[in-house]
């Protein structure tokens, strides 16, 4: 058994090539983690693979700036093992990257978080909120002028009153249904399938539709980050992808992070698998995956170029690259001598009062607030616990999740490519339990 372990270690740490990243892995004990306890992480992931709940995953635990656990297990595609440098559709883990870009422009004095979005995108002027009327009324709804304009901060904190179509299945109500119908008629999509238009075209149409709620009066996960992507174009004068690549990916040496994958990297892109969580695991075909109002197009990640740049969904990345992004945050805005944000801005982004009295319940349930780009654990009295108050994180719809624990100086990243994501809340939470319980100092 020991021999097998040694051979495995040799394979993972020496033989297995990591083409794009030059990283070091330290013994967990060097950074106050327990090797023995991290075996629980191995067992957890292996069990899910054996039970055919997932095809494979890459998991990383880093502490005090050092990678202590970095394991690829299972399959990335049919006949293709998962590797540490496998590339993933991180989907909504694009949002913190978009938020970072906005905060950089904020620090440069290009905008204020309290600015009305209409100051930069005039189509957001004179917005109305759809208020459903009682059944049997002559008209099914009325439109109420907003009490105040959507501000940049609302977009970062998801308190804008905008919506995602797919949440109509999660939080059904009449008003949401009416708006979903309007979104569809106006050609608004969630951006998980890449529309054949510029992001600005979509945003301008979206701005003319009614809001679901008054800005600031609800936390509702939404297309807000997509609006931010376009806002970056308007404020910076650069295409959104160019801004992110030049100002974030390049300085942070995130060499495997892209809006459109380079052709030579296509073989490294993981396939998406459909799992019923009961042992039926099938590689998704080329057709869109449709469930109610949720539309996913896994093969859109194969596109080498295109028009649509979704600030909420489009990035393809690796665990190692995302670690570099997360470490920049954990370091208070800088990595390897490159500063993207000030410590004060990181503190502002991870403060828990941006969403007011509203909890960010969509992924975490009660006890989690939303900052300017992340969900943040506010207390330890509720069901989802990531190890510490102040831990901030987000996830992606093909089952990816990252978590940053500033108190323990610890980063945890899990990446898989499995649909539907609903089953994965439990697995993600367990990964974070394993990560937290490996702390041994």
């Amino acid at each position: 058994m020991k021999l097998i372990t040694i051979l495995c270690l040799i394979f993972f740490f020496v033989v297995s090539p990591v083409s794009a990243a030059n990283f070091k892995i330290v013994k967990p004990e060097k950074v106050g983690l327990s090797s023995e306890r991290l075996k629980n992480m191995d067992a957890l992931i292996d069990r899910h693979i054996e039970q055919k709940k997932i095809a494979g995953a890459v998991v990383m635990v880093a502490r005090k700036g050092k990678i202590a656990y970095f394991r690829a297990a299972g399959l990335a595609d049919v006949g293709k093992p998962m590797k540490r440098d496998t590339m993933f559709r991180v989907v909504s883990m694009t949002k913190p990257i978009t938020s970072t870009a906005i905060m950089m422009l904020y620090e440069e004095g290009k905008l204020l978080l309290s600015d009305p979005v209409a100051k930069y995108i005039p189509e957001f002027r004179n917005q109305k909120v759809l208020v459903p009327m009682p059944k049997g009324s002559p008209f099914p709804y009325r439109l109420e002028p907003v009490k105040r304009e959507i501000q940049v901060r609302d977009l970062l904190a998801h308190t804008s009153g905008l919506m995602y179509l797919f949440l109509n299945d999660v939080y059904p109500d009449r008003g949401r249904q009416m708006l979903v119908d309007m979104y569809k008629e106006a050609g608004i999509t969630d951006g998980f399938c890449r529309p054949d238009e510029e992001i600005g075209d979509m945003v301008k149409r979206l701005a003319r539709l009614p809001l679901y709620k008054h800005p600031g009066e609800l936390w509702d996960y939404s297309l807000s980050s997509d609006v931010l992507g376009y806002l970056i174009e308007v404020v910076s004068g650069m295409k959104f992808d160019a801004f992110v690549e030049q100002r974030i990916f390049k300085p942070l040496k995130m060499r495997d992070s892209h809006f459109f994958i380079p052709e030579e990297k296509l073989p490294r892109l993981a396939a998406v698998w459909k799992s019923d969580w009961k042992g039926s695991l099938v590689r998704a075909d080329d057709k869109p995956i449709v469930s109610g109002d949720l539309w996913l197009c896994p093969t859109d990640a194969h596109m080498l170029s295109g028009k649509y740049l979704a600030g909420g969904a489009n990035v393809i990345s690796t665990v190692y690259d995302y670690f570099r992004f997360a470490q920049m945050y954990l370091n208070g805005g800088e990595l390897d001598g490159v500063r993207l944000l000030s410590r004060k801005s990181v503190e502002l982004m991870t403060a828990t009062n941006h969403s007011g009295k509203f909890d960010a319940e969509f992924l975490h349930s009660k006890g989690w607030k939303f900052g300017l780009g992340f969900a943040i654990q506010q207390d330890r009295e509720h069901s989802v616990d990531s190890g510490d108050v102040g831990t901030y994180e987000w996830a992606g719809i093909y089952s990816t999740r990252f978590s940053i624990d500033p108190k323990e100086k610890k980063i945890t990243i899990f990446m898989s490519q499995t649909n539907p994501f609903g089953h994965h809340f439990e697995l993600w939470d367990k990964v974070l339990v394993q990560s937290a319980s490996a702390v041994a100092d």
Binding site: D115, P116, G187
Partner: protein, 284 residues
């Protein structure tokens, strides 16, 4: 107030300050210093349905119909602004529920009762053509001008369009925005559409230039003009007077050449002349 009471109050000041600081800041309390009034329109609004390139914020001047209407409104000294919305149902809402002075667009399909309270002023008459996709019908899609020859086919139509003739001919009708109809045509989900040529050309140029030439005009045997109206609301206090002033100003623009000049800014001269003749016909 005696000195004792004043001293007691002074003692309580820190407590008041503490309590004030303890009030949590909620998102709803974070009003901008830039007030909404700076961004709100304080004039009457004409609500218009987005129809590229006739009514659209993507087109210079807000689109051909918007530019013409704006000029007529200015000439008639009618103090309103045109607000473009993406959906017809929103425009209808403002007319029926908020008593808007006017709306602008096409295919509203008002009931007879509603029609009595409305004044229709045609602003642009655009020739409508039927199109099919070359990839779906490499040998062409002939109809010889008779819808009966299209029985069993699927027709792409705008919401609100009168499709009685298509229904009677046994043609399935699918609704959508022009862009969505073009995509459906390309993917084979529908067989033909009927839309203004200018819209098709504009959308192909902007969104699918590689498809130029693949959307083919069907043989012209019969077609309608797509008329874009400004529809004034008699129920609005200023509706009737505004309609009268607008109509006069528009008639003058057509006569003095300024209408044609606006058209020329959006199309070649020959086509502009054709559009001018059409609006003159529909004005009668």
């Amino acid at each position: 107030m005696n000195t004792g009471n004043f001293k007691k109050m002074l003692h309580r000041v820190p407590l008041f300050l503490f309590l004030a600081l303890m009030i949590p800041a909620v998102a709803g309390a974070t009003g901008p210093r830039v007030t909404g009034s700076l961004f709100a329109v304080d004039k009457s609004e004409i609500y218009a349905v987005d129809i590229v390139p006739f009514i659209s914020m993507e087109v210079a001047g807000g689109g051909i119909a918007t530019e013409i209407s704006d000029a007529a409104l200015a000439a008639g000294e009618i103090d309103v602004v045109i607000t473009t919305l993406p959906l017809q149902r929103m425009v209808r809402y403002y007319l029926s529920q908020e008593n808007a002075i006017a709306v602008m667009g096409h295919h509203f399909k008002f009931s007879k009762a509603d029609g009595k309270s409305l004044i229709f002023v045609p602003v642009v008459a655009a020739p409508e053509r039927h199109y099919y996709y070359r990839g779906s019908y490499p040998d062409g899609l002939a109809w010889k001008g008779d819808l009966k020859n299209m029985k069993g086919k699927r027709y792409g139509s705008h919401p609100g369009e009168d499709n009685t003739a298509y229904n009677e001919a046994g043609i399935e009708v699918v609704h959508g925005r022009t862009m969505s109809l073009l995509k459906k045509l390309k993917s084979g989900k529908i067989d033909f559409i009927g839309v203004p040529s200018l819209s098709v050309e504009w959308l192909i140029k902007k969104y699918m230039p590689e498809e130029k030439g693949n959307f083919v005009v069907m043989e012209i045997a019969d077609y309608d003009d797509e008329i874009i109206y400004v529809i004034f609301n008699r129920k609005h206090a200023d509706g009737v007077a505004a309609a009268e002033k607008f109509r006069k100003a528009l008639t003058k623009m057509i006569a003095d050449g300024s209408y044609l000049e606006i058209l020329k800014g959006h199309m070649d001269e020959q086509r502009a002349e054709g559009y001018l003749k059409r609006i003159q016909y529909h004005q009668k």
